[in-house]
């Protein structure tokens, strides 16, 4: 013991002041930046491909169709089972995959999240019950059943499958959000905001929503992944989109047999999806970490708001200035 005091204290890393810091030492290193950049790149590649790929696709299609699952010089990533250029498919197929997966999850969270939030924020038990009971009834239905019913009933309709995926995710989102929101909504901060006459919307979205955010952010990434695979699995079963649709998920499902014959036909779209979900999740983590670590939103908000008011005052009525000072 006494030896310790005799020695000079060891040089310190970033002050392990707050408890949290001590436990998460090393966050600030360059590693963080590298990961952030990597995550952004991972995320951006598939998204940009989905957005702008269709514009470039004709270039890739210029060499015309080839033999099925061929790996010849004319097609950089070979061809798929119909002899179509895999690169062209890759360029064309992002929109529907990401669109339907994101759309389904967004819808699920929009509806389910709203229901869950409303149920949690409501101080009336009956509102909670009314909102959550139906959710609880729907919850245990195997999503597989819903997908297959919809897939069988409204065959080959991408919208229907998207809606089905949204539907199966909605109760889950509702419950998740409710559980997370309940803690916040029942706490004194929400009470204080209500006492201040804050609108329900602001209490729910501004504060309770904000407290739910970490849980949701941790969930959204996996949910999107899940949605992509549910759609892909529906195609695997012949319940989803047309097996010829130039969609990443469909392409993977349709070419799966050729994994070892023409690996690109499966691996290229799979890599896109992988980049997307990994990037999305990593970015989500980054944003959350940042949120917990940096000075609170108020600082930034205020500066932004001051700037905004200044602009407004300068532009709009000169009288407003006086009024503002009054």
């Amino acid at each position: 013991m006494s030896e310790h005091t005799a020695q000079p204290p060891p040089a310190q890393p970033a002050a392990p002041g707050s408890g949290r810091r001590a436990w998460t030492a090393g966050k600030k290193g360059t590693g963080g930046v590298v990961t952030t950049v990597a995550a952004a790149v991972l995320f951006a590649v598939p998204v940009l491909t989905a957005l702008f790929g269709p514009l470039l696709a004709p270039l890739a299609e210029a060499s015309g169709p080839g033999a099925p699952y061929a790996l010849d010089g004319r097609h950089p990533l070979g061809t798929d089972g119909l002899g179509r250029d895999v690169l062209a498919l890759l360029l064309r197929g992002g929109g529907s995959t990401l669109g339907s997966a994101l759309g389904a999850v967004a819808l699920a969270y929009l509806v389910g999240g709203a229901v869950g939030l409303a149920a949690a924020v409501s101080r009336h038990r009956w509102v909670d019950e009314m909102l959550m009971r139906p959710v609880e009834v729907v919850l245990p239905i195997p999503s597989l059943l819903v997908i297959s019913l919809v897939g069988v009933g409204r065959h080959g309709n991408a919208w229907a499958v998207t809606m089905a995926v949204a539907l199966v995710n909605t109760p889950v989102a509702a419950r998740l959000v409710r559980a997370a929101a309940l803690r916040a909504a029942a706490g004194p901060v929400a009470e204080a905001m209500r006492m201040q006459g804050e609108s329900r919307l602001r209490v729910q979205l501004g504060y309770v929503g904000g407290s739910v955010l970490p849980v949701v952010a941790a969930d959204v990434g996996t949910r999107v992944t899940g949605a992509v695979f549910t759609v892909a699995a529906a195609n695997f079963l012949g319940l989803g989109m047309e097996p010829t649709a130039p969609d990443w998920g469909v392409t993977i499902a349709a070419s799966r047999e050729a994994l070892l014959v023409q690996p690109w036909s499966v691996c290229a779209p799979a890599a896109m999806l992988l980049m997307f979900t990994v990037g999305l999740n990593l970015l989500g983590d980054r944003v959350l970490d940042r949120r917990d670590q940096l000075p609170p939103r108020g600082h930034r908000d205020r500066r932004a708001r001051d700037r905004w008011t200044r602009v407004r005052r300068a532009r709009v009525l000169p009288g407003a200035r006086k009024e503002g000072r009054a």
Binding site: A67, P68, Y69, G81, L82, G83, V152, G153, H155, G156, G238, E242, P243, T244, R256, E257, A258, L260, V261
Partner: protein, 486 residues
């Protein structure tokens, strides 16, 4: 290529063969008269026999019936039976045959598959003639009757057979166990009329295509039924797995509805027949494992008019005909489904080809479960696929006014009359000629665009011998009596 028996060792007794077929879950059945799936048929084939089977060219060949003869008007048929024994030791007698036919045609059993084909039987007029012969009487003459006895689900069971769980047949294997959707096993029947099989045990297992793929490669099964052209490419050069490829095992094509515009005009149909690029379809859909079709069913089968010239793509003529028949002004609907792998692909490929020729084709996809029925009424164009069957059966099932599967809506009373007439012709050459004329009519005026005759692909482990190429539904297909393992 083809048979895995090439360079085989000497046949050897003993061993177990594990054969995997696409499964159908709870739908699988032990009742031989309800059979519907390939996996059922294979199982039943091991345990039961039909009176008549179909040979490689889809001609009837003797099975339990040693020989047959008919009255001059082809309404009364006599079948002489073999000296076969059932698994319980009981000897096959005409009464067993009559019992089986009665059971198949039982009015209360709606799901007996052969009932439709055998509905021509006049059961009241059927009888045993002595201990060896059974006499069957038809309601109307048919020279093709023996091949009707070879249809799916026309198996001969033991008199008094009721409980499907206790199958007793004359087949080469005795029942051991069965679990729907999973597995079936049967043991060698030493008293089989054609001599005991080599195998000690036969297991017929159900598995989806992914599982069959990997299992046969890993040596977990010895025989995998119905493999894809992609799989064939995958195992090229694989020393453990060989492909048994059966050429001419059916037909792939498109069906145009000829009972309504635009394809009620033979020119319009001909335009479509001339614009399809058969080679491209074969390359993409069949992985180059098919022979080009000539818009005729049954290439290589009995009654096939092989002298007709091969139809080739002729875009110029196709355009001319299309313009003349007003095809360019219409929007055509291609009704397809994922019911069979490759249907949707073929539909899109066709739509592309038609698009290049200036036609507008919209592909619509329907539910696979009811596709075959829906297809009869929906869309202008549909997919068409048909396994191996005798040409007259094909005509009667697909091209007559009352045919249950008349996908091209080919409804011409005179054609039907000619067909009934042809069926009654006793003399084979004349009958062949009559059938030939009928097929030619359909080829030139009908709505069937039959672009390819795909190979049937089975995979067999190299330790298995004696598996012969044979079109599905024929005698040697899925028959493991003469198969042995190292």
């Amino acid at each position: 290529d083809g048979s895995a028996s090439a360079g085989a060792t000497r046949p050897r007794r003993g061993g177990v063969l594990r054969a995997a077929f696409p499964g159908a879950g709870a739908k699988e059945t032990l009742d031989p008269h309800k059979q519907r799936q390939f996996v059922d048929i294979a199982r039943h084939k091991a345990m039961f026999d039909k009176l008549v089977e179909l040979g490689p060219t889809l001609r009837p060949v003797p099975r339990l019936a040693r020989s047959w003869e008919s009255s001059a008007d082809s309404t009364v048929w006599r079948f002489r039976l073999r000296e076969a024994v059932f698994h319980d030791g009981h000897r096959l007698e005409p009464e067993d045959v009559l019992y089986s036919l009665h059971r198949i045609l039982d009015p209360h059993a709606a799901d007996h598959l052969a009932a439709n084909s055998l509905s021509a039987l006049d059961l009241g007029g059927c009888r045993a003639v002595g201990k060896e012969t059974v006499e069957l009487r038809l309601k109307k003459p048919s020279a093709e009757f023996p091949s009707l006895l070879a249809v799916t689900g026309a198996l001969i069971v033991r008199r008094g057979y009721r409980d499907p769980e206790k199958p007793v047949g004359t087949g080469a294997f005795r029942f051991a166990s069965f679990q729907a959707g999973r597995s079936f096993s049967a043991h060698r029947f030493d008293d089989h009329w054609a001599g005991a099989p080599y195998l000690d045990e036969l297991r017929i297992l159900s598995a989806a295509s992914e599982a069959r793929n990997s299992a046969v490669q890993a040596g977990e099964i010895d025989y995998a039924h119905e493999m894809s052209p992609t799989f064939a490419r995958l195992i090229e050069g694989n020393s453990r797995v060989a492909l048994v490829s059966t050429p001419l095992s059916g037909v792939d094509g498109f069906a145009l509805k000829t009972d309504r515009p635009p394809f009620d005009d033979p020119d319009a149909a001909m335009a479509v027949k001339l614009l399809v690029d058969r080679e491209r379809l074969i390359e993409v859909i069949s992985g180059n494992r098919a022979q080009p079709g000539n818009d005729l069913y049954g290439k290589g089968y009995a009654y096939y008019p092989s002298h007709l010239p091969q139809r080739e793509q002729d875009l110029a003529q196709a355009r001319r005909l299309a313009r003349r028949s007003g095809l360019f002004n219409r929007r055509l609907t291609f009704y397809t489904s994922t019911v069979v792998e490759g249907f949707v692909n073929a539909a899109h490929l066709f739509a592309d080809m038609a698009g290049e020729a200036g036609l507008r084709v919209e592909v619509v996809s329907g539910p696979p479960e009811t596709y075959n029925t829906d297809q009869l009424t929906t869309g202008d164009i549909g997919n068409h696929r048909c396994g191996a069957m005798p040409i007259p059966t094909y005509i009667s099932e697909r091209l007559l006014d009352g045919s249950p599967q008349n996908a091209s809506a080919w409804k011409h009373p005179d054609f039907d009359e000619d067909f009934v007439h042809a069926q009654g012709i006793k003399k084979e050459t004349a009958r062949t000629r009559a059938y030939g004329a009928l097929q030619r009519t359909v080829r030139d005026e009908g709505g069937l665009v039959l672009w390819g005759h795909p190979d049937w692909l089975n995979a067999v482990s190299t330790t298995v011998h004696g598996v012969k190429p044979a079109p599905p539904n024929t005698d040697k297909w899925a028959r493991f009596d003469a198969v042995w393992v190292d």
